[in-house]
């Protein structure tokens, strides 16, 4: 059994309007950062998960995303095992 650090990144689905990202994009443009083509804002959750190995920790995190952490209608997610705590 180990404790694995997992980063779950939840992002608004690609084709859906992200008004928060758009607002930040405009603010960056106002500051002169013209090179920014797009901004999208999601959230990142850091989990410390006890599991026999990294693969099963990731598997559990995926189930957590399906059930709670991401909304299947509006969001996509990525689970990354960052290492052992």
């Amino acid at each position: 059994m180990g404790r694995y650090l997992i980063d779950v990144r939840v992002m608004p689905r690609e084709r859906l309007l992200d008004p928060q990202g758009n607002a930040v994009h405009h603010a960056l443009a106002a500051l002169g950062f013209d090179e920014v083509a797009e901004v999208r804002i999601g959230k990142s959750l850091s989990l410390a998960v006890d599991a026999p190995d990294a693969a099963s920790a990731a598997e559990r995190a995926n189930v957590m995303c399906e059930r709670l952490l991401a909304n299947p209608v509006t969001e996509d997610y990525v689970v990354v095992v960052e290492g052992e705590a």
């Binding site: 608004p12 859906l16 309007l17 992200d18 008004p19 928060q20 758009n22 607002a23 709670l68 952490l69 909304n71 209608v73 509006t74």
Partner: protein, 227 residues
């Protein structure tokens, strides 16, 4: 006496308005705490507006796992009327009792003002006493009211005439100007506008009273066995 349960989550803030609007329509309305797993013989259930659990993670995402939601799901499954207003609508979507989701307003701002909505579906327990096509002015107050769903779901909602409330002017970027919908069973309704805040001439607006009057009439018919 017609029994109406108003569910309170930590962060609900339209609970008293909903209770009062239901009482004003003649219901024996009472509060049910989100930790209760029993609706106390409710004939209808109202999930009021507010910010359950501070809208943490996503609006309604945590509230849907409250113990009371199992009882609400069972009540809905049995055909019992359920109304979700604003945050209550968000909870019903998160719980899968209604399709789709409510996202951040397209304009990014929290919008709090009266809007005109058209009653497009009058075959639900919460709109039956309105005339089809009637336009009513009711308040909205939300930051996350942009209704979204897959194309297939939106097509189905439109084809089955399950969009029951539609904005005349879109305040939040909702697809199809959708302000309220009903489930396939015709008994679970979600709406972003707040009829309970416009249900008494005392506050200068009563166009929303019909939602609660509809509920009473429909429950009466259910009791008499007239579908």
């Amino acid at each position: 006496m017609t029994r109406v349960a108003v569910v309170r989550f930590p962060g609900s803030n339209c609970d008293f308005d909903a209770l009062r609007a239901a009482q004003r329509a003649g219901a024996d309305a009472y509060f049910v705490w989100h930790r209760d797993n029993d609706l106390d013989r409710a004939d209808a259930v109202i999930l009021p507006g507010g910010f359950a659990y501070g809208d943490y993670l996503r609006a309604g995402a945590i509230a849907r796992f409250s113990p009371v939601m199992d009882a609400v799901a069972a009540h809905a499954e049995a055909g019992g009327p359920v109304l979700g207003i604003c945050n209550g609508f968000q909870v019903l979507c998160e719980a899968g009792l209604l399709p789709g989701a409510l996202m951040r307003n397209a304009g990014q701002r929290f919008v709090s003002r009266p809007v005109d909505v058209r009653i497009e579906g009058v075959e639900t327990p919460f709109t039956a006493s309105y005339e089809k096509g009637a336009i009513i002015r009711v308040p909205i107050a939300h930051g996350e009211g942009r209704y979204v769903a897959t194309e297939a779901v939106v097509r189905e909602l439109e084809a089955d005439r399950r969009v029951i409330l539609r904005y005349l002017e879109n305040p939040n970027g909702s697809i199809g100007n959708i302000a309220g919908i009903v489930n396939r069973g015709g008994n679970v309704v979600g709406m972003m506008p707040h009829p309970e805040r416009a249900a008494d001439p005392l506050v200068g607006a009563s166009a929303g009273h019909g939602v609660f009057a509809s509920m009473m009439t429909s429950l009466e018919r259910l009791k008499q066995g007239i579908a």
